[in-house]
């Protein structure tokens, strides 16, 4: 299949999502043609990746036909007209099962449509299916799953990152034009980094949480994953804005994110101050990641940005604060899976429980996986009255200190640059028995969640292949001021325009991205 955009009849999958929507609106392409191209690619290639939990071919084609019919009638089509998208499986869809990567919700058909699916559909998108994830979004590798773990399209024996690993893998391999992920501690940005795509976690409240299955409600945010900064901006512009169904969604006006991308691509970065916390680039950072990070800083400086040193004095406590707050909220949120109202239940078994407590315990013990149990138990520990002050209460105060650190740093700079992940993609199974090592891999991403700030991961090149490591993508993270996604997108677009990484596609046994 020709992936060269300059050939006479390029695969529609080589187009950007923005170009696809324009082509559908103008009648140059049909939504059916685009949708079929993606369904064919999924059928041919996803057997090697397992990025989809569920593919809704029939529904997607019916939806595509409806969009084509609307166009024939002369209706005005939306900004994602005919664009085939994939949703992480923690986004509630009324007509599609939503499992959240768990046996607990296997076969669950939600009784309502979530706001994210509704907004994407209103914008004209075609939903191809639901993408695999770590169970209840808890994980950094997609291995916390009762299903087949997702593979990284750049090296099939490597993890795609997590928890939005299915989305990142599918976007990288060209199995959806735009993907939706969620990010509680880096779950959009880290897999984007490991799979070589763009992933944006917006400001807390910029995008609604209504219809996104809760993990840690004060940290969770939905956001786009895409091959280019422009498509991430397009996705955000559709998702952002107040939602009457989520009281924490922000009413601040939504800026023109695509204009910010155009400004970054075409203009320079004079006057933009990029903060770098040198003290965070120490132990645990792979040499390859350090090298690509320094090269990215040079790219930004060449475009006119000024690099300034910043210090976040409580940064080294962020992982600890995060794993207290996130597990506390998770233990509370996941109490709803009790076998009484929906989802898996011991009450459906041949020998039903004889008491309510037995129903709870049997249902939860059988249908939650090991990592979910670990986090529920840790959350239970930190919320106990005798440990609350030393753990939860203290972590929430450290969170305030960290937010103040960021506020102080942003008096000196407009955004903070760092690696996204301290290491490139690791082998499946490598860290599975060491939860603390897995948690520490989130070191660069969790600060933005704790402080509620927007952050993006963009491709920053590849590690040099060596004996035990193939050529793997590496990401650059930019963290911005509250509600200043536009600056992140502008600077990201400038970096993208000056580097060749966005055009690279993975080739893997069983397919080519």
């Amino acid at each position: 299949m020709a992936d060269d955009p300059t050939s006479i009849d390029p695969s529609p999958r080589s187009m950007s999502a923005r170009a696809m929507a324009e082509a559908v609106r103008s009648g140059e392409r049909s939504a059916r043609e685009l949708t079929q191209a993606y369904l064919d690619a999924i059928a041919e290639r996803d057997g090697a990746l397992h990025s989809y939990r569920l593919v809704d071919a029939e529904g997607a084609l019916a939806r595509a036909d409806a969009i084509d019919a609307e166009r024939s009638r002369g209706a005005t089509l939306g900004p994602l007209a005919g664009v085939p998208v994939g949703l992480k499986d923690n986004f509630v869809t009324a007509d599609l099962d939503t499992t959240c990567g768990s046996r607990m919700l296997e076969g669950w058909r939600p009784p309502y449509a979530g706001s994210h699916a509704a907004r994407l559909l209103d914008a004209g998108a075609v939903i191809l299916g639901k993408l695999a994830m770590d169970e209840f979004a808890m994980g950094s590798s997609n291995e916390n799953t009762p299903f087949e773990p997702v593979r990284n399209p750049w090296a099939l024996d490597r993890v795609p990152g997590g928890s939005s690993g299915g989305t990142a893998s599918a976007v990288a391999a060209g199995l959806c034009a735009l993907g939706l992920g969620s990010d509680t501690g880096g779950s959009i940005r880290q897999p984007a980094s490991l799979c070589g795509v763009v992933g944006l976690k917006p400001t807390y409240g910029r995008v609604t949480r209504a219809g996104m299955i809760a993990f840690a409600s004060s940290l969770d945010q939905a956001g786009p994953l895409a091959r280019t900064v422009e498509d991430a901006a397009l996705g955000l512009s559709v998702l952002a804005g107040a939602d009457p169904r989520d009281a924490t969604s922000l009413r601040a006006p939504v800026p023109d994110y695509l204009a910010a991308v155009d400004a970054g691509r075409e203009g320079d970065l004079k006057g933009v101050k990029v903060g770098v916390q040198r003290s965070s680039l120490g132990e645990g950072l792979a040499d390859s990641v350090r090298a690509r990070f320094e090269a990215s800083l040079e790219v930004l400086a060449e475009r006119g940005a000024e690099l300034v040193d910043v210090e976040l004095p409580h940064f080294h406590l962020a992982v600890a604060a995060y794993y207290v707050v996130a597990t506390a909220e998770a233990s509370s949120n996941l109490a709803r899976y009790d076998g009484v109202r929906y989802g898996a239940s011991a009450a459906r078994e041949d020998s039903p429980p004889s008491s309510l407590v037995e129903l709870y315990e049997r249902t939860r013990s059988t249908h939650f996986g090991a990592e979910v149990k670990r986090r529920i138990l840790l959350g239970t520990f930190v919320l106990r009255s005798e440990s609350y002050a030393d753990y939860y209460g203290r972590a929430m105060k450290v969170r305030t200190l960290l937010a103040r650190d960021y506020a102080g740093a942003f008096e000196r700079c407009d955004l903070i640059a760092s690696p996204t992940s301290p290491v490139p993609a690791w082998r499946l199974g490598e860290k599975l028995d060491d939860p603390l090592a897995m948690y520490l891999s989130d070191v660069f991403t969790i600060g933005a969640n704790l402080a509620g700030l927007p952050a993006i991961s963009i491709p920053a090149g590849f590690c040099e292949p060596c004996d035990d490591c193939p050529r793997l993508p590496i990401g650059l993270q930019l963290t911005g001021r509250r509600l200043d996604e536009a600056t992140l997108l502008r600077v990201s677009a400038a970096h993208e325009a000056a580097t060749p990484w966005a055009a690279e596609r993975p080739t893997f046994e069983g397919g080519q991205g």
Binding site: Y112, A247, A321, R341, E358, A370, K373, R394, M396
Partner: protein, 99 residues
């Protein structure tokens, strides 16, 4: 919670509170992993948090973000009950919880 209790015992005790049941093997492995993570979390003690309030997200809305508190019919009772394992009429049925 007795932090000096053996990790396995701590795991069983927490599981009881969280309405989970662990096998002894699970309790051993989760207990020892929790012990490692809790040891790491003790680094929080080094922060000077005197007079520091617990974190709150900035909100530009205040209570205006809340919709009017007016009850009304939902119209989705059947769809919602369709997911429940046991129902009786328009109610969810549960095993006995009181003797």
């Amino acid at each position: 919670m007795n932090r000096s209790a053996p990790p396995e015992e701590m795991a069983h005790e927490l599981a009881g509170l969280a309405r989970l049941r662990l096998s002894d093997d699970e309790a051993r492995s989760i207990g020892s992993q929790l012990d490692t993570v809790l040891a790491y979390l003790r680094c929080l003690a080094e922060a000077d948090v005197d007079g520091v309030p617990e974190f709150e997200h900035e909100s530009d809305e205040g209570d205006q973000a809340l919709r009017a508190d007016t009850p009304g019919p939902d119209g989705r009772v059947e769809a919602i009950l369709a997911g429940a394992p046991k129902t009786r009429g328009s109610l969810v049925a549960v095993p006995k919880f009181k003797d």
